[in-house]
């Protein structure tokens, strides 16, 4: 998109970094457990959920309206398995001040892949949920990978920078 003031160009992403709107409702319904759940008089399950991270091409549209994982416009290529990779979740959600937060405990690493169609987004979703419910979309500058490794490093897990925060 042309910046009429400078004559340069804005970078316009079809994918938009955002928290899934559906996720906000689902956490109120207790549909996502990033840490071990506390059993109550109704709920007996105490194990935390499992999450995966799938990559999407630049022409996809994953954003706040995304409600679940979909293979549509997901990247494909040698070494990449549809659905993406498991998110390492070894650090339970915690709080600091009035903010609760959580971040994957390790970088997302897609090892020895060839992804020749440019991609610029990762969708984190809950594989333990019925329907692979979406959590959040994170974007970055468009990339391609050739017989190599794509590593996505998370921000620091603190109340100011964690991947998911509730203030």
């Amino acid at each position: 998109m042309l910046n009429k003031e400078t004559g340069g160009f804005w970078l316009c992403y079809a994918n938009t970094q955002s928290m899934a709107t559906s996720f906000k409702k689902e956490i109120l319904n207790g549909s996502h457990a990033f840490g071990a759940q506390s059993a109550n008089g109704t709920r007996t399950v105490t194990t935390k959920d499992t999450f995966k991270a799938a990559l999407y091409v630049t022409t996809a549209t994953v954003d706040s309206t995304t409600t679940a994982y979909s293979a549509t416009n997901e990247v494909s290529g040698t070494g990449y398995t549809a659905g993406g990779i498991a998110v390492t979740n070894a650090t339970a959600p915690t709080t600091s001040g009035t903010t609760a937060f959580w971040t994957p405990s390790a970088s997302l690493v897609y090892t020895t892949v060839t992804l020749t169609t440019a991609f610029d987004a990762v969708l984190i979703y809950n594989t333990a949920s019925t329907g692979n419910l979406a959590v959040s979309v994170h974007t970055f500058g468009a990339q391609t990978i050739t017989a190599g490794t794509f590593t996505l490093t998370m921000p620091a897990n603190d109340s100011s920078n964690a991947l998911i925060r509730i203030a």
């Binding site: 928290m19 970055f140 391609t144 990978i145 050739t146 590593t151 921000p155 991947l163 925060r165």
Partner: protein, 72 residues
């Protein structure tokens, strides 16, 4: 002799031309969104290997509690 995985299989590193770089992507407001450190290996003018390490800087604004106001 170091081996590099390429689209043609593992190749000796000394046969390849290595290029590295860092790209910084900014949002419309000028804030840093992410940093990408890349490594490429070329052979006879052909890109045979590319790895990228992206570090996310821009995070999703936190969800803020909404206080309901009762009127009537």
């Amino acid at each position: 002799m170091a081996k590099i995985s390429t689209k043609h299989g593992d190749m000796d590193e000394h046969l390849l031309t290595k290029r590295t770089g860092t790209d910084r992507h900014h949002d419309h407001d000028g804030s840093l969104h992410d940093t990408a450190d890349w490594v490429e290996y070329w052979h006879n003018g052909e890109l045979v290997h590319r790895s990228v390490h992206v570090t996310l800087h821009k995070i999703i604004p936190e969800m803020k509690p909404i206080i309901a106001k009762l009127v009537g």
